[in-house]
């Protein structure tokens, strides 16, 4: 069961990610990204991260992606214009590069990281909101507080940059 779930959602995630990269219109990409995020949320659940899975859906797939889509709509951009002459050079350079990146990363993971135990839903539940909240407000209190500054910066920044534009 776990395997099927994993494979299914992994496949969705990868497919959506590929779609994200292939689509020329940002809206399609954004929707693909939502797809990735949602399927990742399922995988988080599988890994015992119930709280984080929820946050993933609510904050990430919900709030952040909405922001993206909002801006895309606001700017009303078209899809990428096809270039007058098909320039294959970037792809010719980028693809080997990317293959070597994935190759290196995967090689390390496959050969060096201990395969680890079998991931089975329910074997780890340390990611529930209670445990999460305990850690967050004791040991990680400071970063949590500082995060508020971060958000503040983001707000100020957005206002400064886009005050009169919106």
């Amino acid at each position: 069961m776990d395997a099927i779930l994993f494979l299914t959602f992994a496949a969705i995630a990868v497919a959506c990610a590929i779609n994200l990269v292939l689509q020329t219109h940002p809206i399609s990409s954004a929707l693909s990204l939502v797809g990735v995020m949602t399927s990742l949320a399922v995988l988080y659940l599988l890994l015992g991260g119930s709280f984080i899975a929820a946050v993933q859906v609510i904050v990430y797939a919900g709030a952040i992606m909405v922001l993206f889509i909002f801006v895309i709509m606001l700017l009303n951009t078209q899809g990428e214009r096809t270039q007058p002459k098909k320039n294959v050079l970037p792809i010719a350079i980028a693809l080997p590069l990317l293959f070597s990146l994935i190759g290196v990363l995967a090689a390390i993971v496959a050969t060096q990281v201990p395969a680890g135990e079998i991931v089975k839903f329910g074997t780890f539940s340390g990611g529930d909101p209670l445990t999460f909240g305990r850690a967050m407000f004791t040991r990680y209190l400071l970063p949590f507080e500082v995060t508020s500054v971060l958000i503040l910066i983001a707000i100020v920044g957005a206002v400064v940059l886009a005050k009169k534009e919106i």
Partner: protein, 617 residues
């Protein structure tokens, strides 16, 4: 103490006075200072020599340590022995006469004070050279006279040829000095001193070097030095050009005194040469070659002073022949007599030139014996003296040399005799061309004033009687030993005969049958051209040394090595850096995605290296 230092110091004082204040002084004052200082110097020489008596021993005066460093310890010392006594007398005596003569000769020239200042400076250095008690002090005088020669040859510096000649003289002398200084260093290293006394004392017990050794090297280098100063082959080329200087200078420096410095120096170093037979042989050969070569050139020249200049070279060759055969005293003897008659020849020539307002070309002279009789008379004296007509000065010294040559290698004697004949021929050729026949020039000849002719007469007397009355070889015997070759009457007769034959031929060609000479020249046009053009030696030097050196330095070294290779490398490094910078700029394309590609590339490489290869270690 005999205060030897006064001897050079007096002319030096004259030099300083004239040099610094001369421009504001009257001619009379300049004369007083210049001639007076030399006169005083001469008198001091006489007084000193009388005070020193027979000079069986070397008399040394030490003044101060000049250079002291490690094993090098050189004092500023003067010494007098019989050799330097002879030279002192010649230098100051002839010098005095020429100073007096010059007062008249230069009376109408610009830069009067400058001329006398230089002349005094020359006296200063020449006297240092003669008085030196070690090689370094000798070298001071040696270089100093070279300098004065340079200054005086270039006295008429408005003329480019004068400047060129001066420079040539200095540079060629420098080549000689190169040898001299290297010899000096070797002496220092091998004998631990430059002091004549010490060096010769150490040299005496040494064995003769039958194969080339350090002594031979030293002597050959000394010879190189001497050859430069005394205009020997192959460094004689400057002397004919040196005639660009005023005539008194030619007489004093380039005939009577400075050019004999080489002879003096070799004679001075006799103790070394005696142990280096190979070097001796080279000296003799050099002398002989020089004598013959210069004489042949002298046969064909038309410039009065040039004839005498080649004659000087030739006579210097004789002196070297004497040295090379071990007849040092004969060499010095010839130095002295040559000083008399050659100074006279030049001064007489000066008088002729003076009379003709500067004309020097024999072809523009002729028939002057009536117009300038005194000059004619003194020049005749000088000519017979140089031709070796007994019993005049040249006869004695030349015979001494030729006899020594015969004792050494008979064939050298025969070459010497032929040269003597040529000498007589060309001197009389000039004499006849000048004074006989008809006048071919435009100027109005007039006899020189007494201030010029008086020294001429004194010199004439010396040329006639100097050889007989002043028996130098005998005087120098304690120094160089009784080296007389057997007095062979036949040989003497042959050489005298050669001289007379030369005179006769000259008379035939230029008095009796003028025109015969031209015919002969046409008949033997190839050797004639060779002689006339001085064996093309100057041209050869130009083509082989001067031009390659100058052009090579300019185009190869400066513009090639310096500008192209070294600076090219330096600037090239800069350009390379800039090119790298340019390349890096190109990478800085401004495109975000390309930058990202670099990030990915860098990451892949770094991850692969750091994780899999475990770093370099």
């Amino acid at each position: 103490m005999h205060q030897l230092w006064l001897i050079p110091a007096l002319p030096l004082a004259g030099f300083l006075l004239n040099g610094i204040f001369g421009r504001k002084l009257s001619k009379a004052a300049i004369n007083a200072v210049a001639i007076g200082s030399v006169l005083l110097s001469f008198l001091w020489v006489v007084k000193t020599l009388m005070g020193l008596g027979s000079l069986e021993e070397v008399y040394v005066e030490r003044y101060f340590t000049w250079i002291q460093s490690g094993f090098v310890n050189v004092g500023f010392d003067f010494a007098v022995d019989r050799l330097s006594a002879v030279m002192l007398m010649v230098v100051t005596g002839i010098g005095l006469l020429i100073h007096i003569y010059a007062a008249g000769y230069m009376a109408h020239e610009g830069g009067y004070y400058r001329f006398f200042a230089y002349l005094n400076l020359f006296m200063f250095f020449m006297l240092i050279l003669v008085l030196a008690a070690n090689y370094l002090v000798l070298f001071v005088g040696w270089e100093g006279v070279g300098l004065c020669s340079y200054l005086l040859i270039g006295f008429y510096f408005l003329k480019k040829s004068a400047g060129d000649a001066g420079k040539k003289a200095f540079v060629v002398n420098r080549i000689g000095d190169f040898g001299f200084s290297l010899a000096m260093f070797l002496i220092m290293v091998n004998f631990g001193s430059l002091d004549f006394g010490t060096v010769f004392a150490k040299a005496v017990p040494m064995a003769n070097e039958t194969s080339a050794g350090v002594l031979t090297l030293i002597c050959l280098l000394l010879l190189l030095g001497a050859a430069g100063k005394s205009a020997q082959v192959p460094l004689y080329v400057w002397l004919p050009d040196a005639m660009e200087g005023p005539t008194p200078v030619s007489a004093l420096i380039h005939a009577a005194t400075m050019v004999t410095a080489g002879v003096y120096m070799v004679a001075r170093s006799a103790a070394l040469f005696n142990h280096a037979p190979i070097a001796m042989e080279v000296v003799a050969y050099v002398g002989l070659i020089t004598a013959v070569m210069a004489a042949t050139i002298g046969l064909t020249q038309y410039d009065l002073k040039k004839v005498f200049a080649y004659s000087t070279v030739s006579q210097l060759g004789y002196m070297f022949l004497a040295l090379g055969t071990g007849a040092y005293s004969a060499g010095i003897y010839h130095v002295m007599t040559h000083a008399f008659f050659k100074a006279l020849l030049f001064l007489g020539a000066g008088s002729v030139i003076h009379a003709l307002s500067g004309e020097q070309d024999l072809r523009m002279m002729g028939g002057l014996r009536k117009k300038i009789p005194v000059t004619f008379a003194v020049l005749f004296c000088a000519s017979v003296a140089i031709a070796g007509v007994p019993p005049f000065a040249g006869y004695y010294s030349k015979d001494a040399i030729l006899l020594a040559a015969h004792a050494h290698h008979p064939w050298m004697y025969w070459v010497g005799v032929v040269t003597a004949g040529m000498t007589a021929f060309y001197v009389f050729r000039a004499f006849f061309l000048c004074f006989f026949g008809t006048y071919r020039g435009q100027a109005h000849p007039h006899e020189s004033p007494l201030v010029m002719t008086a020294p001429l007469m004194v010199l004439a007397a010396l040329s006639l009687g100097g050889g007989y009355f002043l028996n130098v070889p005998h005087y120098l015997e304690p120094l160089f030993g009784g080296e007389h070759a057997a007095h062979d009457e036949t040989l003497v007769l042959i050489s005298v005969g050669a001289g007379l034959l030369g005179i006769a031929l000259a008379a035939l060609f230029y008095v009796v049958k003028p025109g015969l000479a031209d015919g002969l020249a046409r008949a033997f046009s190839w050797p004639y051209k060779l002689f006339y053009n001085k064996y093309f030696v100057d041209e050869a030097y130009d083509a082989v040394i001067v031009h390659p050196l100058r052009d090579g330095s300019s185009s190869v070294l400066w513009k090639g090595v310096d500008a192209r290779i070294i600076d090219g490398a330096v600037n090239g490094t800069g350009s390379l850096m800039r090119a790298i910078g340019g390349g890096l700029r190109e990478m800085q394309s401004g495109y975000i995605r390309r930058y990202a590609a670099w990030v990915v590339l860098g990451s892949v490489a770094i991850i692969a290296v750091v994780s899999f290869w475990g770093g370099v270690k």
